[in-house]
Amino acid sequence: MIMDRQEIIDELKKVLAPYTEDKELLDGINEQTNLITDLKINSANLVDIIIDAESKYNIEIDLDSAEKMINVGSCIDVIVEKMNLKM
């Protein structure tokens, strides 16, 4: 299945939702939104997010890619890269 970046953002919101209190900010995220400093996600949940993303998009995120997932844009880059590897 091919998803564009906006579709990935829409799905990513569902992945991030359990880990942020600020649902209003989550609704309005863009590629620059930082997971920790903007969405106030506790760093202890970063591994949860990676594993939830792996499950949501049916991909495997290696450690080198995981460390790039700092903001929404870099999350999408990693997800797109891993989805393309499957095609």
């Binding site: 209190e21 600020d22 400093t37 106030k40 506790n42 760093s43 202890a44 970063l46 591994v47 949860d48 990676i50 594993i51 792996e54 450690l63 995981a66 460390e67 790039k68 700092i70």
Partner: protein
């Protein structure tokens, strides 16, 4: 350059079942670190607590180094824990207190002591474990000279409350030990997004680290004993 780093993990806020899954802990621990669980006599500690103990050490080292290395990215498996010594005959108990503070002048025999390699640096960790939380402070000084750290439970776990409470907690401590009146002391952030102590508009030479998770807050700072 002087720095400090700390972290706290509230055990109520973690997913125990998920932590015990290889897919989860292999993103935090290297194979050699997984072996420490068996080598260092952690058999009585649930494995998920071991994982979060090592997480708290790694996060503390990252926060220590973030103040020194601009743009540093947290990559847990690149921070290598070489060894970790549990306290002798220690039983994990309920915290039960209003708060706990230590300035390394009082002996504390219930600490887990670790040694860590990250890049070219060697770091030392001290961790305190209770039924409710795991907290760590790190230093590049094996003796933790001039390292102060504290832990406190809070009533409300909302982010804004955690953030305000941990700043008030550390400021109370700093005001109690710095000479003179310190009414204009506050906590800000520098250009590296690290917390700093400000007196008015002036940044003081006191490295600080703040942590909060669920219903617990923690600080560490470096300050020569008055």
């Amino acid at each position: 350059m002087k720095s400090t780093g700390n972290d706290i993990v509230a055990l109520q806020g973690i997913n125990r079942q998920r932590t015990n899954h290889f897919l989860f802990y292999s993103k935090i621990l290297s194979v050699s670190e997984q072996a420490l669980y068996y080598r260092y006599g952690f058999a009585e500690m649930p494995f998920e607590q071991f994982v979060w103990l090592l997480w708290s050490i790694k996060e503390s080292v990252y926060k220590y180094q973030k103040r020194i290395v601009p743009g540093l990215i947290f990559s847990p498996t690149k921070i290598i824990i070489q060894g970790i010594d549990p306290p002798y005959r220690h039983t994990v108990t309920s915290f039960g207190g209003i708060q706990w503070e230590n300035n390394n002048k009082e002996s504390c025999e219930e600490l887990y002591k670790g040694i860590i390699i990250f890049g070219a640096g060697i770091f030392y960790s001290r961790s305190k474990i209770h039924c409710e939380f795991i907290t760590t402070v790190v230093s590049n000084d094996e003796n933790f000279e001039n390292t102060w750290w504290g832990i406190k439970p809070i009533d409300h776990a909302a982010y804004d409350n955690q953030s305000k409470a941990v700043r008030a907690f550390i400021l109370d401590k700093l005001k109690s030990i710095l000479p003179g009146r310190q009414d204009n002391l506050r906590i800000g952030k520098n250009r590296l997004d690290c917390p700093v102590v400000l007196m008015g508009a002036m940044e003081m030479n006191i490295p600080v680290s703040l942590a909060h998770h669920d219903h617990f807050i923690a600080y560490s700072f470096l300050l020569k004993h008055p």
